[in-house]
Symmetry: C2
Amino acid sequence: MNEIKIFVPATIANVSCGFDVLGLCLDTVGDEMTIRKTVQKGITISKIIGQDLPLDPTKNVAGVAALALIEKVNIDFGFDIEIVKNIKPGSGIGSSAASAAGAVFGINEILGKPFSREALIPFAMAGEKLASGTAHADNVAPALLGGFTLVRSYQPLDVIKIHTPKELYATVIHPQIEIKTKDSRSVVKKQISLETAVIQLGNLGGLISGLYTENYELISNSLHDELVEPYRSILIPEFDTIKKTSIENGALGSGISGSGPSIFALSKGIKNAEKVALSMKEVYSKTGINFDIHISKINELGIKILAFK
Amino acid sequence: MNEIKIFVPATIANVSCGFDVLGLCLDTVGDEMTIRKTVQKGITISKIIGQDLPLDPTKNVAGVAALALIEKVNIDFGFDIEIVKNIKPGSGIGSSAASAAGAVFGINEILGKPFSREALIPFAMAGEKLASGTAHADNVAPALLGGFTLVRSYQPLDVIKIHTPKELYATVIHPQIEIKTKDSRSVVKKQISLETAVIQLGNLGGLISGLYTENYELISNSLHDELVEPYRSILIPEFDTIKKTSIENGALGSGISGSGPSIFALSKGIKNAEKVALSMKEVYSKTGINFDIHISKINELGIKILAFK
């Protein structure tokens, strides 16, 4: 294989009660990446369509992730990366994670899969570190593995794929506002009460149990975040209204996607997910803020190969 | 039915990463209770064998739980309770929970099961409130439902039964020392860092995933408690040695049972559980402290009916 074209999905990190540990993979929104073998050693990024992002591989998350990978293999050639960037940076649905995960996935395929998808996570995390300052895995893991993923531990890194109920759909609204990372971080409390932690533990346990048993009522009852949402949601216009309206229109629950500003809702069945999308649209149409809405089944496969030669 | 004799199991609350939410049910250690219909209305406790506990039903957890139940049904008779108390009070393996759960279970059976096992939990919790000051469910739930249980929420009460892996065994050592509840509570930190909470969330998610998928390695990796064990374990002689020795002898993990002083270990297969028991015995034999050791398969059924007439 000399060239591969892949679909690299957007992802939702946290998923309410799973703050900093859970993530899920979307199916209908993502980047397209083409990776090709080059005679020249190292990594080049020849083209990025759709966003104004650096082509210098040491300043681009895809490049940094790719460089982390090729450092670990003994090869006398290199790779060029082209990205059709459909996931908007700063949207909170794993834009940087997609670039990082896609780059290492594509290179690994061309190399004949020396690494499993799980083993690619640390390389993709190196890209995430460039983007956000911390090498977190809660978006790159679902992008690479698909479905729901749990980052059980960072030391050592241990990522677990959780069963995905068959009829689970996500609706995501991306309000096109910028939340400064500094603001998004500064509102989060660094100390919490033991009582709050116990409530979150109960809900996370409930959600994971609900996913394995495909118990949609339990999933719904468990989708609460005590740790971050109460503080971070004030930075997102109409958050409370979107959440309330989504649930009134049949969503199982709703919360902040990653660190926002995107808001997600989970629903049983595509009809409910579509109804939720319409209700989100109605709320945001009145704000004067531009927005995108995505409806997606949970993508159990993660990154998909579109073509290769 | 006029009389029922039941086996009421001991239970392990918390189970390391499941602080205040998880519990599991034992099979080889428990009380025997006999409940019989009486012409006289109300509740009497005619006999308690094995422990010096109050016979006044308003001062006994079994009595208080029973009274909470019969307040909700319209009957012109009452019940007498006899208890063979094998679970030592203050051991940390759900002694009060067994009395409370057994009383309401037995009465419910004689009444023709107006309540499900789940619906009996709040009545049993009323008994727990007498024993410890708080109406917690993390011991009464596994006693009533069997297996592993998760208290997802108290408001509203939502208890979920989690899948139990087939080869999972517990070994429990009960050092016969008294830890004052005041001391046990005062060492627990009321405020924790967000970082610590996230580590606990990862491990709880891992444990629940490991239980559903019967992944013993994942169960083992997840059995850590960041919230309470580091502080409470200092009140239990040889805790660190018991934990280390248990794991060296094949246990998947080890921690404090409830608020102690009992220490539990979980193992795959009875042979490992027995080996762990021997290693615990060796450590404690040198201390001069009296102790009991129990080996038990996880009891998936909870309370069992022994006889009725």
